[in-house]
């Protein structure tokens, strides 16, 4: 296991201004402070909003439920990282016909600390659909989002995975997809000097990945107009006289934390946590907790004679949206570290050991389905977040088609074994002819090993208060000064990785809020 770094390199999350970080694991007495704006959450949405508002001259308080894992303390084993920074140590699941692991970062930077930093602008057809079906045309448009996307791309150094950091897993995928006539290429990512450590999932050891904990959060703190309260769980937003007045939470040490908001409270706690915070705050909307959507993902492994070496290269570096519209899935690569790969490789004992000893010869390619299914987000007994979600038959058809396609591509690329991970199909396929078994696999969610990483909806945006939770200006219907800017406001899923759009929407919301406050002051 790699130990925390003791080298002399300087990282962006080192040497933050004194007093800018209030560590909830150290708070010994109750805290009460006032800010212009209080932001709940420091992930993609919260960090961007906080930075935009601090840059506009407002004093911002950020409340983050999890700790701050500094680059210097990054380790390469999954358990140590997940235990510290993932919600429920990575053991959170969507419940429905099948259990689906749901990975959410719970730390400064949120999931941007442990994701693959993939940048995609929202497809125009999705934004057009939002306009047509949810009344958002005129407010949430490609044109309105464009300057925000562009600013983010500059700030976070969005660029194509360079050839020297691509690695064989990604290169082979692109080569094979193109042989199939499938449009594919290197991903665009938030990257400032990726060396292909293959460690995106356990946090970047060199801060090359431009997650929020090494960019917008420290930048906001260094502006001198922001403070962050880490390891503090928000209980509710105090809404007085119809206006959001304060955020009330509890530190890891059990102390009350109350942050008063002079102008606004911004909720950016994620699709699962935001609806429950709103509910605990007294927001009552028929659509609250409804219309939850996801991109369920699945991965197939292939064992090759020649080296693949997933340990080197961008964790996720190649992709194809060729089937996004026609079949509602996106193809991607993903390099699994041994910690996670071992659980997905068939067999136990000597057979598992034989395969694991050849992990350097394994490629893993994946698909994420733009599922049409909708679920619900509720709060269970003891304040536990409960998400109920079951994929539809159409979703399963998309998943099955993606599985068969990936298996075929792996065999054609030279794999001698393919591991589909589909119950009802042999766990080891040894010839391309056997792919037909996958094409006829059951359309049963319990047969597949899905994982949910992209989450949407549950506090969705719209003009009609009876069908939505926030208005097109990100304001919660009927609660002045209370805004939601994370992906819970998305009326639908996207079919592409959402971080870029989450950030662009949040930046748009923050700029509009800043203008509104300024106008009010001027008046």
């Amino acid at each position: 296991m790699r130990t925390p770094q003791s080298d002399a390199r300087h990282f962006p999350d080192d040497d933050l201004p004194e007093g800018s970080v209030v560590d909830g694991e150290q708070i010994a007495s109750s805290v009460g402070e006032s800010f212009d704006v209080v932001v709940i959450g420091s992930g993609a949405a919260g960090a961007v909003a906080a930075h935009a508002l601090a840059s506009a001259g407002f004093h911002v308080g950020i409340v983050e439920e999890g700790p701050w894992l500094k680059t210097r303390d990054v380790r390469d084993d999954v358990h140590s990282t997940f235990e510290r920074v993932m919600r429920l140590h990575g053991m959170q699941v969507l419940q429905g016909r099948a259990f689906m692991p749901m990975l959410q970062g719970r730390c400064v930077g949120g999931s941007t600390l442990v994701n693959s930093a993939i940048a995609w602008r929202a497809p125009e057809d999705v934004i057009d659909d939002w306009g047509a079906r949810f009344g958002l045309s005129g407010t949430i448009t490609t044109r309105a989002l464009e300057p925000h996307y562009a600013a983010l791309e500059r700030d976070l150094s969005v660029r194509e995975v360079p050839p020297e950091a691509l690695g064989e897993n990604n290169r082979l995928f692109i080569e094979q997809a193109r042989k199939h006539g499938i449009e594919a290429g290197p991903m665009h990512r938030y990257d400032r000097g990726c060396t292909g450590s293959g460690m995106c999932i356990t946090a970047c050891p060199s801060a090359a990945k431009q997650g929020m904990s090494v960019t917008y959060v420290p930048w906001a703190l260094r502006s001198g107009r922001a403070r962050i309260f880490t390891s503090c769980r928000v209980e509710y937003v105090d809404i007085r006289g119809g206006r959001a007045a304060a955020v009330v939470g509890c530190s890891h040490t059990g102390q009350r934390v109350e942050l008063h908001a002079r102008h606004a409270v911004i909720v950016a706690a994620s699709t699962v946590q935001t609806p429950n915070i709103l509910r605990r705050s007294g927001v009552r909307a028929a659509a609250l907790g409804e219309h939850f959507q996801a991109h369920p993902g699945l991965a197939l492994g292939g064992l090759f004679d020649r080296p693949i070496n997933m340990a080197f290269g961008a964790t996720q570096g190649a992709e194809s949206i060729h089937f996004r519209k026609s079949d509602r899935f996106k193809l991607e690569t993903i390099s699994l570290p041994p910690d996670l790969a071992a659980a997905r490789i068939p067999g136990v004992g000597t057979e598992l050991a034989d395969r694991l000893s050849q992990l350097g010869h394994v490629a893993v390619w994946a698909a994420q389905v733009r599922a049409e299914a909708e679920g619900t987000v509720r709060e269970g007994w003891g304040g536990v977040d409960r998400v109920r979600y079951t994929m539809t038959e159409n979703d399963m058809r998309a998943a099955r088609k993606a599985c068969a396609l990936i298996a075929r591509m792996l065999f054609e690329a030279g794999a001698r074994e393919v591991w589909p991970g589909v119950y009802g199909v042999p766990s080891v396929l040894r010839a391309i002819d056997e792919v037909k078994l996958l094409e006829e696999a059951p359309l049963e969610p319990r047969s597949y090993s899905f994982i949910a990483t992209h989450l949407f909806g549950a506090a969705r945006m719209g003009r009609d208060p009876s069908r939505s939770v926030v208005d097109p200006d990100f304001r919660v219907h009927g609660a002045a000064g209370l805004y939601v800017v994370d992906s819970s406001v998305f009326p639908t899923n996207l079919g592409v990785n959402p971080q870029h759009t989450i950030m662009a929407m949040s930046r748009l919301a923050a700029h509009r809020l800043a203008e509104r406050i300024d106008r009010r002051h001027a008046a």
Binding site: H79, H89, D339, P346, E351, L359, G360, V384, P426, S449
Partner: protein
């Protein structure tokens, strides 16, 4: 929530069946105190997850009763029988059974990958194909087969991993 001594013994036996000594990897998991690791995870996890992990451990421990039809726990049977029991559980037609056992395997994997030696071994590509290890299917001779109603086909007829 703390694990009892007999539960730790079950956990050691079950993890040893997944990552045994004398296989193609540098060492087995037993020397890494996997039971203590499980106990720590159970102790530090939220209640629901702790209960789930403990339930899984009991299910694996007592599986020989119905899979092998023998009044033994996982700790009391031979290593090859333990592997067979785990293979059957992972291929179980009962969704909850196979999912929980895969989760248990995932936990063992996380522990095993914490070994620098094993990690280095697993992430190193062999330079020549002839140096690849031939994948051995575990011989089932001497191991009682499970009743047909409990599973279908061999361990690879269906997948859960």
């Amino acid at each position: 929530m703390k694990l009892f001594g007999f539960e730790l013994a079950w956990a050691t036996a079950a993890f040893d069946a997944i990552f045994p000594e004398r296989a193609a990897l540098p060492h087995g998991i037993a020397r890494m105190q996997p039971a203590r690791f499980l106990a720590d995870v159970v102790a530090s996890s939220p209640l629901e997850q702790s209960i789930g992990l403990r339930l899984t451990l009991w299910m694996i421990a007592l599986a020989p009763l119905w899979l092998l039809r023998r009044p033994k726990t996982i700790a009391d049977i031979r290593p090859d029988e333990r592997q067979r029991v785990l293979e059957l559980l992972i291929a179980s037609p009962v969704y909850a059974v196979r999912q929980l056992v895969v989760a248990f395997k995932a936990l063992g994997s996380m522990r095993y990958a914490q070994s620098p030696e094993a990690r280095a071994w697993m992430t190193t590509a062999r330079d020549r194909p002839e140096r690849l290890v031939a994948i051995r299917r575990r011989p089932s001779a001497g191991v009682a087969e499970a009743p047909a109603a409990l599973h279908h086909g061999d361990a690879h007829a269906h997948a859960a991993e």
